[in-house]
């Protein structure tokens, strides 16, 4: 298997896009930058997975992710997802974009204590069959950075029950850091083609520059598995959106 192409949407001034591109490369993928104004489906011809990176694109002024969700590429991605030709994964602000684009249920409101928070959180892998978690063990505890001012996930009781019943809550907070309902940190759509993670795995991929770890500060690289999962998935996604094999 040659290095699978992973699309990365270059939303204007998204601060994490360069780090996501680097993380994809280190995980063995070939990042393909995509312009947010593209409406040309051939741009996606050789791409089976697209990442929406985080980083406050267009600011949080209206709502986090609201203006990015109106960019032309989102219509192209929505059509490709609906025809099951593409998997789209939102990281941090990218997850907010996916809820604003109504590709994932629910939405985000201000942190319980309002303001910008930047901290390391303990998360638990609740499903390791998805395109963003297949390289982790089920129940594995990982430590990632969470940063933002609107990280509190909310949804209607009906939506929450559906997420729970269908097993679409993929990553949970060990101890709810931002008080999101049901400790939700990562979810998928019913068919598994759209996924969102409210954390920044791209800042836990290189020893010395990662999260806190018993081996020393910055030695935590638990975000590697996220990108390895995506690269694996991109090389092995069948047309039902299920990751086949290893």
């Amino acid at each position: 298997m040659s290095e699978p192409n992973i699309g990365v949407v270059m939303f204007d001034a998204a601060t994490d896009a360069a780090s996501v591109i680097r993380a994809v490369q280190l995980a063995g993928g070939t990042p393909v930058p995509l312009h947010p104004k593209t409406t040309v489906a051939p741009d996606l011809a050789d791409v089976s997975v697209v990442i929406l990176p985080g980083g406050f694109s267009y600011g949080d002024y209206l709502r986090a992710g609201a203006l990015a969700a109106t960019q032309p590429i989102m219509r192209v991605l929505k059509e490709a997802v609906q025809s099951k030709e593409l998997t789209v994964i939102g990281v941090g602000n990218g997850f907010q974009v996916l809820t604003e684009a109504e590709l994932l249920p629910g939405g985000f409101i201000a942190n319980q204590t309002p303001g910008f928070h930047h901290s390391e959180v303990e998360l638990v892998i609740a499903d390791n069959s998805s395109a963003m978690t297949n390289a982790y063990d089920l129940g594995e505890q990982i430590r990632l950075i969470q940063k933002g001012a609107y990280m509190q996930y909310v949804a209607t009781e009906t939506e929450l029950q559906k997420l729970e019943n269908q097993g679409n809550i993929i990553i949970r907070a060990k101890k709810s850091a931002d008080d999101s309902v049901h400790d939700i940190v990562g979810i998928s759509s019913t068919d598994g083609f759209v996924l969102g993670l409210m954390a920044s795995p791209e800042y836990a991929i290189e020893e010395g520059f990662g999260t806190d770890h018993p081996d020393g500060p910055g030695m935590g690289v638990d975000g590697q598995g996220f990108f390895v999962s995506i690269v694996r998935a991109a090389g092995a996604i069948d047309n039902e959106g299920v990751v086949v094999g290893e």
Binding site: A66, P105, G107, I109, A110, N111, P114, Q152, V154, T156
Partner: protein
């Protein structure tokens, strides 16, 4: 030039951390008359020319499509500013 005002509020069943943070300061400042605060948003849309019913309908469409997110918010009011 006339202005259309759009007001967006957090849905009643959704937590409003900003409003709660303001609310928590009130007793110490002596404002004991108010039992809760909810914080919303006000948008002012400037219109060139007359605000016809069609223009007002367009403002309502914009409010529903972009200015409010139905998952967490609702459009509380759309009216021509006095």
């Amino acid at each position: 030039m006339p202005t259309i005002v759009v007001e967006v509020m957090p849905k009643p069943e959704v937590l409003d951390p900003q409003g709660k943070a303001i609310d928590a300061r009130l007793p110490e400042l002596g404002f004991r008359e108010f039992t809760s605060v909810r914080q919303g948003k006000r948008f002012e849309l400037t219109v060139e020319g007359e605000v016809t019913p069609d223009v007002l309908d367009r403002a309502k469409a914009l409010a529903a499509e972009l200015l409010a997110n139905p998952s967490t918010e609702y459009v509380a009011n759309v009216e021509v500013a006095k």
